[in-house]
């Protein structure tokens, strides 16, 4: 078994108290251990705190209690070893051309323009955006914008990609293509990926392992289901339907507790 890479231990999170009234816990006793290079999907009903998990891993929020470590080092804030692909394209810098969006992290590192543009071009090629480097984000389609986001985080060569429902706002056709391309990119770059989704089929198509979260408030990781279907995966492949039913039953069981 590979060594633990990104590890969350007994993590709880609650928002700050308001007028002395304590807010309910979003997460309680959240635990997960990821291995290097794996594609991990975090699946769960909406409102269960998936994005909070990602924000904690990214270092945007500090856990109320518990620790998250990356290769043994505690996470205390945002860092270039963990870059985020956001669901909303408002994360792109609209005043920068595509190539300068992708080169942003390299610029922060102090690379001269020529070097960083050369690297950015490679990553634009990887996400099939050749020839789009001089366009501004508002001139690109929704799918292309998400490709720019993916190229942008890859260009800084992070250890982990944190992806928060990056294809959630795209049409079915585009989403399906980007899912295939993401698997291809993952294989080429050997990155560890944490991918948040509420779409069961998407999780099965992408993940090595799927972590299902319990419903909030105070949610945690329920079961972890390994997906050992051969890649490339298709919805019609044997085993896909059974796995979908299985996961759906778990999530419905979670949601069923409400009533």
């Amino acid at each position: 078994m590979a060594q633990d890479f990104l590890v969350a231990r007994d993590v709880s999170y609650r928002y700050a108290a308001r007028r002395g009234v304590q807010a309910p816990e979003v997460l309680s006793n959240f635990e997960v251990a990821l291995t290097e290079g794996e594609f991990f999907c975090l699946l769960g009903p909406s409102g269960c705190g998936k994005t909070t998990v990602l924000n904690l891993m990214a270092g945007f929020l500090p856990p109320t209690s518990g620790t998250i470590t990356l290769a043994g080092q505690p996470i205390v804030g945002p860092g270039i070893d963990r870059t985020v692909v956001f669901q909303s394209d408002d994360a792109l810098f609209t005043w920068l051309r595509t190539i300068d969006n992708v080169a942003f992290g390299l610029r922060m590192r102090g690379l001269p323009a020529e070097r960083r543009h050369a690297i950015a071009r490679e990553y634009l090629h990887l996400v099939h955006l050749d020839g789009q480097e001089n366009k501004y984000p508002n001139e690109l389609s929704g799918g292309m914008k998400q490709r720019v986001q993916i190229a942008r985080v890859l260009a800084t060569d992070p250890k982990i990609l944190l992806m928060d429902e990056p294809f959630g706002a795209l049409d079915a056709q585009t989403r399906s293509r980007l899912q295939d391309e993401l698997v291809e990119i993952w294989r080429k770059t050997n990155k560890t990926i944490v991918f948040i989704t509420h779409d069961i089929a998407e999780a099965i198509l992408l993940a090595d392992r799927i972590g299902v979260m319990t419903k909030g408030p105070g949610s945690r990781l329920g079961v972890i289901i390994p997906v050992d279907l051969p890649r490339p995966r298709r919805r019609g492949h044997p085993g896909f339907g059974e796995m979908w039913e299985h996961l759906n039953a778990i999530i419905e069981g979670e949601e069923g507790d409400e009533t």
Binding site: A58, T83, V84, F86, A91, F93, L96, M108
Partner: protein, 276 residues
């Protein structure tokens, strides 16, 4: 000489002709309405002024044009226009240069905002003209006072707009910058500043309008030159035609400066998504 340049000119003309035709095609609807509207208003002005009023109460466009031509010939008009414009631009530019950075810092750093926000919120409701007398006492009757009054007018509009702009930055942008390795200062420089630019520019456009209003009032009370002085001084002589010259000049100058400002924004800052 003509033989050498002849063919080149012909080639230029050939290239220009279709572009000109294209331009005229675009001009047709919107700009024709524009022109018709202006001509219509001047005609209406003429009819109303000559039918219902004595010329000394409401001079028509022809009378105003005649006086205007005289004032242009004597150099009097140019003097008033240039001094007013100088006061406006100087005050406007200094005010913007102070307010935009201040608004960026106040918007980004909560402690700084907590310190200065009460003053910003207090003084923005005090019209600049309320300060005219103290300013003249402190800084004299010269240009400094008038420019300072315009600076004051500009500062609060640009400041408030800039702060609003900072608060409107999508949190995802700042988070993206942070995980891509931007330090707080670099994030301020490379995200907060460019993302706020449209709001700063909008604030500047609004402030430009207020600067025109303020310069006239200031010149009415404490000046011996400028369009405000022209308007106010003409009142003593019942020179309504000169008052109308002042009014037409102010409107035209305002329109031209605003158009020029918009041109600069579109030309040099279009990628920042300026608000039209």
């Amino acid at each position: 000489m003509t033989e050498v340049s002849g063919p080149r000119n012909a080639a230029d003309t050939m290239a220009v002709a279709p572009r000109l035709a294209n331009l005229l095609g675009k001009l047709k609807t919107e700009h024709l309405i524009y022109a018709a509207s202006i001509i219509g208003m001047v005609v209406l002005w003429h009819v109303v002024a000559t039918t219902f009023f004595k010329p000394q109460f409401f001079p028509g466009p022809l009378a105003v044009l005649a006086t205007g031509t005289e004032m242009v010939a004597s150099g009097e008009l140019f003097e008033h226009v240039s001094i007013s414009l100088q006061r406006i631009l100087l005050g406007f530019l200094i005010g913007s240069a102070v307010a935009a950075p201040a608004g960026l810092v106040m918007g980004s750093v909560p402690v700084v905002r907590a310190i200065f926000d009460p003053y910003a919120q207090f003084f923005r409701f005090v019209p600049s003209l309320a300060w005219l007398t103290p300013v003249v006492i402190w800084f004299g009757i010269g240009e400094t006072s008038k420019v300072l009054i315009i600076v004051y007018t500009t500062v609060f509009i640009v400041l408030i707009n800039t702060m609003v702009g900072v608060s409107h930055i999508a949190e995802n942008k700042l988070r993206a910058a942070a995980c891509l390795g931007a330090t707080p200062f670099k994030s301020f420089l490379h995200v907060t500043l460019p993302a706020t630019l449209p709001f700063i520019l909008t604030g500047m456009r609004l402030a430009m309008g207020n600067s025109f209003a303020t310069v006239v009032a200031a010149e009415m009370i404490a000046a011996d030159s400028g369009l405000g002085f022209l308007i106010f001084n003409s009142r003593l002589w019942m020179a309504t035609d000169k008052i109308f010259i002042g009014i037409v000049c102010l409107g035209t100058l305002g329109l031209i400066t605003d158009r020029f400002f918009r041109y600069l924004v579109v030309r040099f800052a279009h990628q920042y998504g300026p608000i039209e």
